[in-house]
């Protein structure tokens, strides 16, 4: 069994460890976590990460609001989540301890910078007495280390001022943890000199701090043992570590290449989507044009304009932005032009919890436009999957000439996982042909262009871009006559066009439902998007405990897989964990009249395996 329950010590070899680095925003915890992740990846562990940023830009130092954390799980077996609860917490100050302790498993290890536990810091964190002394850490294995002091001493020889010296204490912590988990020293030394290249004193200080940490572990006899985590049996190949947002940006670029089209992004900054804009802005050599618009409406409108001009057009945003784009997306639906809207879902309603994930924009993606305005929806299930999902969204948009909504969330956006890089030439060709000549004749037998004449197979209309001789035509949001695209107020035509638009989306070819776990089980967990990892891990646990359980995870939310009704009808019980109030459940119930049970969570924190397991067991045991 490879669960996260407290284990006996000392153990030489571990199956996995979940470490959470936590400190003040200025303490460099993200960097530390990232680097630990890198070394572990190189050692062949499987891994998953989850950063946690403070909501404020720069909350006052030492306060709870200012705590920044980074959780990494490394293992010798395949994993799909960063783990429910850390077994090791590195706490750089009282606030970090206070904010994070409740997450740590009972009996877990606390590696604490005891120097930071001054009266002032304790007060800032809201401690009435010193937890290092008052017994409140009794259920844990706590290791107070004078990190600041030792770091200062270690770097002093390099002539660094005490104040600056302390800045290196995150490298001390990294050294110590590296020793504990027998990570090699060289990669970090290399990393330091690359990262801080040109700032020699900083390099020296960080190196010294790192070594000091490493040596401290070896010599201090504070720890009972150190641990090894063997490589995981991953598929062999070349891996990189990506966050969901980066994978999305790369997926957009890849889609442009696979479609042989220039890329246009119209965007307005918003957390947690801005990084895609940032990433794509730096990829101009891929023919990527980014446009930081004056607002979300202009961002979407500019994408419509670019799509009309023949670009592969994107607009990236989060929920509030999608709420603003509704009218413009309705125009895109009516124009039947390809484009992709990326929504990195965050906590709501309204401004809500901007830095926390939710999956609560599904209904808006389906219905957030006036009238009947159908739009395909695609959702990635893991950080690396964002790459494929972006390509899939583009495939649908281009082939069917339609705006497509891609629903990621703040959790996928910032967490990361190892990604077995695909062979670029194995990626699908999603190219389309622009219309080049007439596609009809008039009464006099002359060639004419019918902008709304549909491909009989896909129901897509031709994409004839400005600059193409002879095909001049006008499009617009008023109802259009079938085939000619001229304005038409004719009732029958309107009925027909409404039906055609619906039929086109409904008939989009999408892969059949993917059933993981036991296909012949009577119990099924249905999911979509970022709950995949937690559900997948739950299924493994349940199976190990002797339960039969299936897992159906939807990537295509609209249209859904054609066999989905049949597949789901085969199960006696279905639960659906969602970070919303039951949105997919509603869609499934309405479509298939199946009594799917909602398992909802709306607290801004992704599901843990434990939570889903509990819900599953309750459902399995229910009469």
């Amino acid at each position: 069994m490879t669960d996260t329950a407290p284990r006996e010590l000392p153990l030489q070899e571990l199956a996995e460890v979940i470490i959470r680095f936590a400190g003040d925003s200025g303490d460099g915890m993200q960097l530390t976590g990232d680097q630990f992740t890198s070394i572990s990846a190189a050692l062949g562990n499987d891994l998953a990460t989850l950063p946690e940023f403070p909501a404020e830009i720069r909350a006052p130092q030492g306060t709870l609001a200012g705590v920044s954390a980074f959780q990494v799980r490394i293992s010798d077996f395949a994993i799909t989540t960063p783990g429910d609860a850390p077994t090791v917490l590195v706490a750089m100050n009282p606030a970090a301890l206070k904010a994070q302790l409740h997450n740590v498993v009972q009996g877990g290890a606390l590696i604490i910078n005891s120097d930071a536990f001054t009266e002032r810091n304790l007060e800032k964190a809201g401690y009435e007495s010193n937890p290092l002394e008052d017994g409140s850490l009794d259920g844990y294995r706590s290791y107070p280390v004078a990190m600041s002091q030792i770091t200062r001493d270690a770097v002093a020889v390099h002539g660094v001022k005490p104040r600056d010296a302390e800045r290196s204490k995150n490298f001390f912590a990294l050294g110590l943890i590296s020793w504990m988990y027998t990570r090699p020293v060289e990669p970090t030394i290399e990393f330091i000199s690359k990262k801080f290249s040109g700032r020699d004193q900083v390099i020296k200080a960080n190196e010294a701090a790192f070594q000091a940490g490493y040596n401290f572990g070896e010599t201090a006899e504070l720890f009972e043992s150190h641990y090894e985590i063997k490589p995981a049996p991953l598929r062999s190949g070349e891996y990189t570590n990506v966050t969901g947002n980066t994978a999305l940006a790369w997926g957009c670029v890849a889609a442009g290449q696979l479609a042989r089209l220039p890329i246009f992004l119209g965007s307005y900054p918003i957390t947690p989507a801005s990084d895609i804009l940032h990433d794509l802005s730096a990829l101009k050599h891929f023919g990527v044009r980014t446009f930081q618009a004056e607002d979300e409406i202009a961002a979407a409108a500019s994408a419509v304009g670019a799509a009309f001009g023949g670009a592969l057009a994107f607009t990236t945003t989060s929920g509030p932005g999608v709420a603003l784009k509704g009218e413009t997306l309705g125009l895109a639906v009516s124009l039947e032009l390809p484009m992709v809207i990326i929504d990195i879902q965050r906590g709501g309603p309204s401004t809500g919890l901007p830095t926390k994930p939710e999956q609560a924009d599904l209904m808006m993606a389906m219905y957030g436009r006036h009238s009947e305005s159908p739009m395909p929806i695609v959702a990635p299930r893991s950080p690396a999957d964002c790459f494929d999902a972006a390509i899939e969204a583009c495939r649908i948009a281009l082939r069917y000439r339609t705006p497509v909504m891609l629903l990621s969330d703040g959790y996928l956006a910032t967490s990361s996982e190892p990604w077995l890089l695909p062979a670029v030439d194995s990626l699908p060709d999603i190219g389309v042909e622009f219309q080049k000549g007439f596609n009809g004749t008039n009464e006099d037998g002359e060639g004419i262009f019918l902008p709304y004449l549909r491909d009989p197979e896909t129901l897509a209309r031709p994409w004839a871009i400005p600059g193409t001789p002879d095909l001049m035509h006008r499009v617009g949001g008023i109802e259009k006559e079938d085939e000619t695209g001229n304005i038409s107020y004719d009732p029958e035509n309107h009925q027909k066009m409404v039906e055609l638009r619906a039929a086109k989306i409904e008939a989009i070819e999408v892969p059949d439902a993917d059933i993981a776990g036991d296909a012949d089980a009577s119990f099924c967990i249905l999911g979509w998007g970022s709950t995949w990892g937690a559900i997948d891990a739950t299924v493994a646990r349940l199976q190990e405990a002797g339960h039969k359980v299936a897992h159906v995870h939807l990537r295509n939310l609209n249209p859904m897989p054609k066999d989905l009704g049949e597949v789901l009808s085969g199960f006696e019980k279905i639960i659906c964990p969602e970070m919303n109030n039951g949105q997919l459940v509603n869609l499934i119930r309405a479509k298939f009249l199946l009594d799917v049970k909602a398992v909802n969570k709306m607290n801004g924190v992704p599901f843990t395996t434990g939570e889903i397991e509990a819900a599953a067991l309750a459902a399995i045991e229910a009469p």
Binding site: Q257, H285, A303, A307, F308, P466, V475, G476
Partner: protein, 337 residues
Amino acid sequence: MTDTPMRTQPADWATDQEVRWCPGCGDYSILTAMRMLMPELEVDRENTVFISGIGCAARFPYYMNTYGMHGIHGRAPAIATGLAMARPDLDIWVIGGDGDMMSIGGNHLIHALRRNVNINILLFNNMIYGLTKGQFSPTSEVGKVTKSSPMGSLDAPFNPVSVALGAEASFVARTHDMDRQHMMDMFRRAHAHKGTSIVEVFQNCNVFNDGAWEGITKKQNRNANLISLEHGKPIRFGVDDELGVIIDNGVAKVASVADVGEAAVLVHDEGKTDPSTAFMLSRLARGPFEPTPVGVFRAVERLEYATSSTSQLAMAHNEKGSGDLESLLRSRGTWQV
């Protein structure tokens, strides 16, 4: 790009769609001016695009045999910006009414102007919402009685030229629907300008705001109230050219040339880097009943947006080489398993 370039005729620029404005609407003469201008510009229909929002004016694209998009209310400048960035090779015209451009679309308009993307914006100002049957617009005069302001509107109107100049516009002009030649001149100039150009067109809505511009544009009023701005020429007007525009204590004023002397009359310079003089001229009239300038207020060169964006793409290409997907995927480090 036809092999044997033949000069087009105005009729080649007309579509087969029946023009559906009210009989007598000023929009007709603007359409005629545009269709007559096109052959002169020696541009191709397939490389010309008309983008509009919603409103009577915004029906314009349907009547031009080019590529066109009848968008949604207020968003035409934003749609056009995306198109212009994706396709800097095209000639893009943006058409909209005073409601479309200055009410719901005001923000997109001012942002397009400051960015200076290469589009030609024509603002058909009839000081009313035509399509929705006659509510006051952001250019309607205070006190206007309409369906939505039965006791008179309270909203001080925008002066589109002032707004444009305040928003860093590099090309600003004004014309009116009663003078085809002047319209063609202004549209030609707008077309020649690299960057965002805006032309305010005084347009008569004979159904909901008939005669609103008459005090200036009617033949018999022109001498007294229409001031034609011409680059390099003293700004003079009047039945006998007896009036001129002067700058007095930091504001533009109408004066009798006899009183102030010829030397005091402002010589129009549309190319000044500083928009202040153009702004002054935009303030001459406080409503469509006072001497009002038409012509090019401002025409200056500055970075065109799409071209600059293309340059950045080229620079990135030069520096980093043509983007390679294989190496992009490896750019954050990799390891082998």
